[in-house]
Amino acid sequence: MHVRSAIHFALAALALAALPFLAAPSAVADDTSDPVADARAFQKYFTEKFPKLKLEDFVNGPYSMNEDMHRQWEEKEQFPPYEFSVEMGKEMFAKPFKNGKSYADCFPNGGVGIRQNYPYFDDKEGKVITLELALNRCREANDEAPFSYVKDEMAALTAYMAFTSRGKPFDIKIPNDPRALQAYQNGKRYFYTRRGQLNFSCATCHVQSPGERIRAEVLAPALGLMNAMPIYRSEWSGMGTTSRRFTTCNSQIRGVPLDPQADEYRDLEYYLSYVSNGLPISGPGARP
């Protein structure tokens, strides 16, 4: 009895002693991990996996993955299916709200050519602000009802904003704020965490297997994924936003999608956009 309780005591003491040591390194690792090195390694992985591709080609997703698809894309770009949406977005952007203000008043540079700066970290709120979120907040601030995050009007607005920013390199900044770094880390964790009945992470398809087929679809590389948003998907016969892409991805792996613009998705978009820094905006895109 004495011996056993002594062992118990010793084990408990050991466990207690070990705890700070176990907890400390992971916390330190989080604080010191370097997004700059992260992004470099991320881009290096893809450029080495696809040595024939130029860095800016990655923004065309599956259409950059083989020659046949590339020819399809060139043909499609001559007559892009997202054209109607861009036009609708342009009209919406020009039309003032009931109070006389417009979207242009909510954004720097009147909302033109700024897509590459979103999402950004807002130090007042301590959270990531995506373009879709900023647009709906702009509506609410002007006493207009918010739009659905997934398609139609929201896609038209973001399509127009992306269209005016084409060719500008993604310029996502992580300010010197532990919360910003945390948001980035959370996004990264979300990206690499397996979930759903199929036990897939985002990375399973978009890091491990880009260029491979999943049924009839060619998987897009994670690098440059955000640059093409929003997208016209033939499968949807319509436009979809980043929110739509995230939620449908989660249901396709038989997981339960979060609400559009949940904190996790905002962090994920932050992470994914950051690692594509330097690649040009190509949105709105067209995808099979």
């Binding site: 007559f79 299916p81 054209e83």
Partner: protein, 103 residues
Amino acid sequence: MASTIRVRATSSGETTEVQALIQHPMDSGFVKDVKGEIIPPHFIQQLTFEYDGKSVFVADWGPAVSKDPYVKFSFKGGKKGDDLKISWVDNKGATDTITAKIQ
């Protein structure tokens, strides 16, 4: 409102290649909405491309054609700068017409 038709026609001298994209819901009449009610059929029945007073391409469409349809074809003849007239009529009698210059 902006036109529902986008056209690009390019002449190579002998033939003219035409691409057109039309914005239309093309509801088949077999699909239900979120409330479970049938979305009434609404689709383009005839699409016509006219060049020099003659029809060069006529399509009799039905409910099986997809939303925002796209058409590509080429015809013999057609000169740069000439007009190409495109029009459609749907089952509700709505119609739209546009005249494009061949490039």
